[in-house]
Symmetry: C2
Subunit: 345 residues, 2 copies
Amino acid sequence: MVDDSFIDDWRHSRKERLESFTCDKLLPLLLSKDRAALSSAITLIENNSPEFRKEASKLVNKLMPYSGGAWRLGITGVPGVGKSTFIEAFGKVLLSKGHRIAVLAIDPSSSIGGGSILGDKTRMNWLSLQENVFIRPTPTGDMLGGVARHTRESILLCEAAGYDVIIIETVGVGQSETMVHSMVDFFLLLMLAGAGDELQGIKRGIMEMADAILITKADGENSQKAKQAKIAYQNALHLFAHQEGDWLPKVQTCSSLEEEKIEEVYDLVIRYFDLMKSNGMHEFQRKEQDISFFNENISFLIQQGFFGEKAWKDELLNYQEKVKQGLISPFEAADELYANFKGKV
Amino acid sequence: MVDDSFIDDWRHSRKERLESFTCDKLLPLLLSKDRAALSSAITLIENNSPEFRKEASKLVNKLMPYSGGAWRLGITGVPGVGKSTFIEAFGKVLLSKGHRIAVLAIDPSSSIGGGSILGDKTRMNWLSLQENVFIRPTPTGDMLGGVARHTRESILLCEAAGYDVIIIETVGVGQSETMVHSMVDFFLLLMLAGAGDELQGIKRGIMEMADAILITKADGENSQKAKQAKIAYQNALHLFAHQEGDWLPKVQTCSSLEEEKIEEVYDLVIRYFDLMKSNGMHEFQRKEQDISFFNENISFLIQQGFFGEKAWKDELLNYQEKVKQGLISPFEAADELYANFKGKV
């Protein structure tokens, strides 16, 4: 059991710590590739309260000129597909080529208990100990909009801190993929061979987003199945792959466990960026990413302008209480509150 | 190939069709359990343009007194776990007990091609042909907030149209589960036995939300594995299950294919509602659902108040163009636009 005074102390010191994270202090440290400063800067941007938000915005805005140089890679796949194991093996290859790697893991943490991914601490054991690697989970909390903004800002921070490969890892098959796709250059979908019928349960939308599909765990008695799956996915991609700037989505197999064909994934990424940079698509994609970022920012500011002000927050709580007591329908409550709000912000 | 005049015609007739969906016309039809009217009403609420939104709000608000009577069940699980097959088998049991069933499937459709779940047409073949069954996919589009509101309103519409079991089906392990959990009474997590290590890849947050875990495909040579998985999950739930109002989350196995132990799921749901209604938790949960609904509504109205007005929409496009041309950072653009917006809405 943790006693209350301890929590108070912790909260207090946490706030004090945050207050010490100023733009002026963090910016030069970030640019000198200081890992602790990067960590602090991400903590700062993850805080949504207006007082810290201002400093965070200032920081991100100032470091924008130093960002943009990295490969932004999105990696997704259902739970159990082996994302972490792949990132370990892939990270090893990246390090051997002289890259500096940041892994931002979007972590759909518990909305009830606030818990994090089970067994998180044991993931990417080897990689997390390497000097040129920065690993950070992004808690999703309750607002997907918040995650998008945090992750996008974290990308910029990592780039400014000299990481030239940013890996955004996301779990599941759902909304978060669309979000991650909108912030990366290259989107890699990991798939299992022989886990149920091929293509069953795979969402067309996710496959359409993929720049490459990688069939994992292609080792031992699974090798044959992986080869068959490769053919099946290649055929499927023919049917409904979305083609962006002459790049045809590729399908490959690999074994993270035996570190086989991981180098081939690296080659694929190289070929991708070569093509996209030569045909202007890379620049185009980055502009699209900027627009998504702008859209998220303006949405955030609008919500913040409302929910961030104490008077409106109190009003909101008032109406929530009325709804709870059944005095008003959730519909009418929203209409009334919005009518009050309109013209006064 | 579809020629443009055809598309124009189709768009025109679609708008005309929507215009014919008025509250006054739909409300009595809905209350008389007219399935076509229910379908039209959902089409109406799915449309986000302000002209139709007004009519939709009016409709939902008017039918609120007729809603609330159903079991609201959420069903989730990774792709391939057999959600549709289970819902078919479970639906058969529900029908045999005299229930009327609405299935709202949250469909993470493509954000690029606009496509829908692959193989959608072949899902729930038998169930979709039954008289007392209404099945409707909810496209997620780009905004999760939109989905939440649409789905919540669809629940109310279905209840007013006399469906007494509402099943919200959702895919993947991520944000949409949290959303669905906030709008249902009973949250069922389907799991596969022996698909990778037990518990690996399962998010603690999802397990914490589950009122029951159902291990599917417990048939043939899978039976033994399913039994082992049941024990593993029972132990896991002991560790971190969230206990709501005396209900201890249960773990069961079933075979949808062989229609085995499906009746036991029905019994479980009965026991759940008996307990929750007797101890007041059901009422409490419904109030929590109302508050979430209110929060979503107010967020929507605020966003709508901005992006729904032509002048601001034009300004938004302006800034997007500037960001695209690299004339301004996505950050500064949002700040400037918000500063203009502030005080003028």
